[in-house]
C-alpha cells in the first residue's frame, strides 16, 4: 500500500500512513495525478524531515495520504512541478522551510521569507519598462509587492512577492492554540477558519458536536460567504467607477454583517464558534428578524446586479478582462471561486459532502464560467443567491432541534488529545477550500499545525490573468479575485 485512502474530517494514526522513499513517492504522485491539497514537511528528529502529501480525488470525495522520510544528508530530490505544475508553490514552500531542494524547479523563489533576495523575472527591450507597487498599496488593504513588466500600457508579466504578513501562525498554533487565534489568521474568513480549527480539535479530543451547533456553524459560513461576495460585487463596481453599484452593495452587505452582529456580538462572527459547538443560541425572535432582513438582501442584490448586467458600459469593462482559460486553471491547480469562474467545478461543500447537503436538499448547478471578470462577477452573484437559499433552509431546519444543546461546555478544552494522530479538515470558505491539518506526538501535544488557504494556490492566477491586459485594469482583476495576503503568508 503506497497510499492511505480517507475522507474529509477524519483522524488517522500516524503509524498507518505509508512511508516511502522520495523517489518512489514522486513516481506515485505522478502516476496518481490528483490535485494536491497538502504537501508539507515536519522535523522528524536527528536532522531528518518527513514530507506528508495529501491528494484529493474530488469526484469520488476521497483523500490520498502518504509520506516520505528524508535522512539528514538527503538535501535534494527531483522536483514534481515539471510533471504536475500545480505543485510549484508547495515545493517552493517545502524548500523554504527545510532547505531540501526540488531539483530543476522552474520557479524556485521565496514564498514568505528572504524578500531582499527575491530574483525578479526581467525582460529586456527598448520599450519594456517596470512598474513596482507596494508593499503599502494605495487603498486600505494588506501589504504585498507587485512588479509589472510592461510594454506601454500592456502588461507582459506580473510578479507577485508576498510574505509581508508572515506572523508565525503555525508556530503559535503549537504553543497556544485557541479559537481566537484561528479567527485571527484571516479576518475575512473568520467562520471558515474557526470551523476548520474546531473540527480538527474535536476530532483530536473525540467530541461530537450537536446537530444544532453544526447547523448554526453552517448558517454562519453561508452568511460569511454572502456578505463578502456582496462586498466584493460592490468593490468591482467601484473599480469600474460605477459608484451606484459600489454604494448599494456596500449598504446591503451592512445588513448581512449586522445580522451576524446580532447572532454573535461581532460583525464578522468572532466568538461565535468554539471547540465543541457554538457560543450563542438563536431564539425565534432573532430568526424572525433575520428572515425578513435576508429577504430584503436577496431582493436588493438581485435588483442591483441585474441593473448592472444590463448596462452596456459596465459590461464592456467586465467582459474579456483578466481571462483565465479552463486548461490553465486545471494545470496550475487553482481552487475555489477562482477555479469555478474559469469553468472548473471545484467546491468542497459538494465534493466532500456532509450529511446536511442531503438533509437540506441543497442542489449544486454547474456554473460554466469562462474565466473573465464578468464570470467572477456573475459567479459571486450566483453564490450570494445560493447562500441565501441555503440560509433559508437552515432556519427552517433549526426548528427541529430547538431543545438541543449548543455546545459541550467549557471543560472540553481540557480534554486530552489523541496520541500520534493525523487529523485533516477541509472547509469551503468563500474563496475556496481552507485546509487545516494537525499532528500530535506521543503525549497528545500538537507537534505540527498546517494551514492552507485557497489563496496559496491562487495567487498565481492573478499573475496569469493580467497578462496582455492594460495595467489600469489591474485593480479590477485583483478585486475580482480578492485573494488573501495573510492567509498566504500565515
Amino acid at each position: 500500500m503506497n497510499w492511505l485512502k480517507t475522507k474529509n474530517n477524519t483522524k488517522l494514526n500516524l503509524s498507518d500512513i505509508p512511508e516511502l522513499r522520495m523517489g518512489d513517492l514522486r513516481k506515485e504522485i505522478i502516476s496518481l495525478n490528483k490535485r494536491p491539497v497538502a504537501f508539507f514537511g515536519k522535523d522528524w528528529g536527528l536532522g531528518r524531515v518527513k514530507l506528508f502529501v495529501v491528494l484529493a480525488d474530488d469526484k469520488a470525495g476521497e483523500l490520498y495520504v502518504s509520506s516520505a522520510l528524508f535522512a539528514a544528508d538527503e538535501k535534494a530530490y527531483e522536483c514534481i512541478t515539471n510533471e504536475i505544475p500545480s505543485f510549484h508553490i508547495f515545493e517552493r514552500e517545502f524548500y523554504e522551510d527545510f532547505g531540501i531542494e526540488p531539483l530543476n524547479h522552474p520557479w524556485l523563489k521565496p514564498v514568505r521569507r528572504n524578500q531582499d533576495k527575491y530574483p525578479f523575472f526581467e525582460m529586456q527591450g527598448e520599450e519594456v519598462h517596470q512598474v513596482g507597487v507596494g508593499p503599502i498599496h494605495a487603498g486600505v488593504i494588506e501589504p504585498g509587492h507587485f512588479r509589472f513588466m510592461c510594454n506601454g500600457e500592456t502588461v507582459y508579466h506580473l510578479e507577485i512577492m508576498l510574505g509581508y504578513q508572515h506572523r508565525g501562525v503555525e508556530e503559535l498554533m503549537l504553543t497556544q492554540p485557541s479559537n481566537q487565534l484561528a479567527e485571527s489568521v484571516c479576518g475575512d474568513s473568520v467562520i471558515a477558519y474557526n470551523t476548520a480549527f474546531s473540527q480538527v480539535m474535536e476530532l483530536l479530543k473525540g467530541v461530537n458536536v450537536s446537530d444544532k451547533a453544526q447547523l448554526i456553524r453552517k448558517l454562519a459560513l453561508e452568511m460569511e460567504r454572502a456578505a463578502i461576495h456582496i462586498g466584493d460585487l460592490g468593490a468591482i463596481a467601484g473599480d469600474i467607477a460605477y459608484l451606484m453599484g459600489a454604494s448599494v452593495f456596500g449598504v446591503t452587505r451592512t445588513l448581512v454583517i449586522n445580522t451576524m452582529l446580532e447572532f454573535s456580538g461581532s460583525r464578522f462572527g468572532r466568538g461565535l464558534i468554539t471547540t465543541g459547538g457554538v457560543n450563542f443560541d438563536l431564539d425565534d425572535e432573532k430568526i424572525e428578524r433575520a428572515i425578513k432582513t435576508f429577504a430584503k438582501v436577496e431582493k436588493d442584490v438581485d435588483r442591483m446586479a441585474k441593473t448592472m448586467l444590463k448596462n452596456s458600459t459596465v459590461m464592456s469593462r467586465l467582459e474579456k478582462t483578466g481571462t483565465i482559460s479552463t486548461e490553465r486553471a486545471i494545470e496550475a491547480g487553482f481552487v475555489g471561486m477562482a477555479a469555478r469562474a474559469a469553468g472548473v467545478e471545484l467546491d468542497s461543500r459538494f465534493d466532500f459532502p456532509d450529511k446536511w447537503i442531503k438533509e437540506l436538499d441543497i442542489e449544486n448547478k454547474p456554473f460554466n464560467g469562462v474565466g473573465d471578470v464578468n464570470s467572477r462577477f456573475k459567479l459571486r452573484y450566483k453564490e450570494v443567491m445560493q447562500s441565501l437559499s441555503i440560509i433559508r433552509k437552515i432556519f427552517e431546519k433549526l426548528k427541529e432541534f430547538k431543545n438541543e444543546p449548543i455546545n459541550c461546555g467549557y471543560e472540553v478544552m481540557n480534554k486530552e488529545n489523541a496520541k500520534d494522530a493525523f487529523v485533516i479538515s477541509i472547509v469551503e470558505g468563500w474563496r475556496g477550500e481552507v485546509v487545516h491539518i494537525a499532528l500530535t506526538d506521543g503525549s497528545g501535544a500538537l507537534s505540527k499545525y498546517k494551514i492552507k488557504d485557497p489563496s496559496f494556490n491562487n495567487w498565481f492566477v492573478l499573475a496569469l490573468a493580467v497578462r496582455n491586459n492594460g495595467i489600469s485594469d489591474f485593480p479590477l482583476c485583483n478585486k475580482s479575485f480578492n485573494l488573501s495576503y495573510c492567509g498566504n503568508d500565515l
Binding site: 514568505r112 521569507r113 524578500q115 508593499p135 503599502i136 494605495a138 487603498g139 486600505v140 488593504i141 494588506e142 501589504p143 509581508y164 504578513q165 508572515h166 506572523r167 508565525g168 508556530e171 503559535l172 504553543t175 497556544q176 485557541s178 479559537n179 481566537q180 487565534l181 479567527e183 485571527s184 489568521v185 484571516c186 479576518g187 475575512d188 473568520v190 462586498g231 451606484m244 454604494s247 448599494v248 456596500g250 449598504v251 451592512t254 449586522n258 452582529l261 446580532e262 447572532f263 454573535s264 456580538g265 461581532s266 460583525r267 464578522f268 468572532r270 466568538g271 457560543n279 436588493d300 435588483r303 442591483m304 441593473t307 444590463k310 448596462n311 461546555g409 467549557y410 488573501s484 495573510c486
Partner: protein, 255 residues
C-alpha cells in the same frame, strides 16, 4: 440609466445622522463592566483569556490586549455562576494613553469617556476640520482593514467630517497602523512614517497593533516602531468597529 436612477430613489438615504449617539445592537461586545460583588474566585475566567488581558489582582481588563471574544464572560456565567465580568454595548473605547485602556472594577461608561481622551490643543487647532490619514497594514488580518474601509461607506460616511484615507503618505496628516507589525513590514512602516510631513499623528487600531494582541508572543513580529515614536490615539477592538474608529478620531481632533 433609468434603472440606475430608480435604484437610487429606491435606496434613499441611509447614512447614520448622529454618529456620536448612534444606537448599537445590545449583543455588541464593547466596554467591559467588572463588578465582583461576591468576591468569587475568577481564576478560570482569567485562564480562558487568550491574550492575558484579564488580570485578577486587582480585577481589570486591558482593552489594549482584549480581543472582545467574550470567553471570560462565558466561563464566568457558565462555570463560576457569576456576572462579575460582562461587556456593555458601549462602542466609545478609544483613549489617548495606553494606561487609560485598563478598565478596573466598578468603572462606569461615563467615568471612562470623561477621562479617556485628553484633548491636545496642538492637534485640535490644526486637524479639527480636515484629517487625511495613510493606513498601514503591518500584519493585520484584514478584519480591521475591512472595518476601516466600511468607515467610508454610505452608512458611516466618515468623509463628511473631513476625515479620509489617502493613497500617499506625502498627502497625509498621520498614519493608522493595524496588525502586530511583522518583521517583514517593520521597514516599510518606518519608511511610511518618515514620509508623512510634520506635524503628524499616529493612530493604532485594534488589539494586535496596540499590544501585539493574540500575536504578542510570536517570534516573527518586531515592535521597535512603538519604542521610537509616540502614539496619539489607541483604538481598541478586534476588529475595530467603524463607530469606535470614527468617534475615537473625532474625540481626538474636535472639542
Amino acid at each position: 440609466m433609468f434603472d440606475t436612477l430608480k435604484s437610487r430613489i429606491y435606496q434613499g438615504q441611509q447614512f447614520i445622522k448622529d454618529i456620536e449617539n448612534a444606537p448599537m445592537r445590545e449583543q455588541f461586545r464593547g466596554l467591559p463592566v467588572l463588578k465582583n460583588a461576591c468576591g468569587q474566585d475568577l481564576t478560570k475566567c482569567a485562564q480562558a483569556c487568550p491574550t492575558g488581558a484579564l488580570s485578577l489582582e486587582p480585577l481589570s481588563i486591558d482593552m489594549g490586549k482584549c480581543t472582545f471574544c467574550g470567553a471570560c464572560q462565558n466561563v464566568c456565567k457558565n462555570v463560576c455562576n457569576s456576572d462579575a465580568i460582562s461587556f456593555s454595548n458601549s462602542y466609545k473605547l478609544s483613549a489617548t494613553s495606553a494606561d487609560r485602556l485598563i478598565i478596573t472594577e466598578n468603572m462606569t461608561k461615563e467615568e471612562f469617556e470623561k477621562t479617556a481622551i485628553k484633548v491636545r490643543k496642538e492637534i485640535t487647532s490644526i486637524f479639527s476640520k480636515s484629517l487625511k490619514l495613510r493606513q498601514v497594514s503591518a500584519g493585520g488580518c484584514n478584519g480591521c482593514e475591512m472595518e476601516l474601509n466600511a468607515c467610508s461607506n454610505c452608512n458611516f460616511d466618515m468623509g463628511r467630517f473631513g476625515i479620509d484615507f489617502v493613497a500617499s503618505p506625502r498627502h497625509a496628516d498621520g498614519i493608522v497602523i493595524t496588525g502586530p507589525v511583522t518583521k517583514n513590514m517593520a521597514y516599510a512602516l518606518e519608511d511610511c512614517y518618515k514620509s508623512v510631513p510634520a506635524p503628524k499623528i499616529v493612530i493604532v487600531c485594534g488589539a494586535c497593533a496596540i499590544s501585539g494582541g493574540i500575536y504578542q508572543n510570536s517570534t516573527e513580529i518586531d515592535r521597535e516602531f512603538f519604542e521610537k515614536h509616540p502614539v496619539d490615539l489607541y483604538i481598541p477592538g478586534c476588529p475595530v468597529h467603524p463607530l469606535t474608529f470614527i468617534n475615537g478620531v473625532l474625540g481626538l481632533i474636535r472639542k
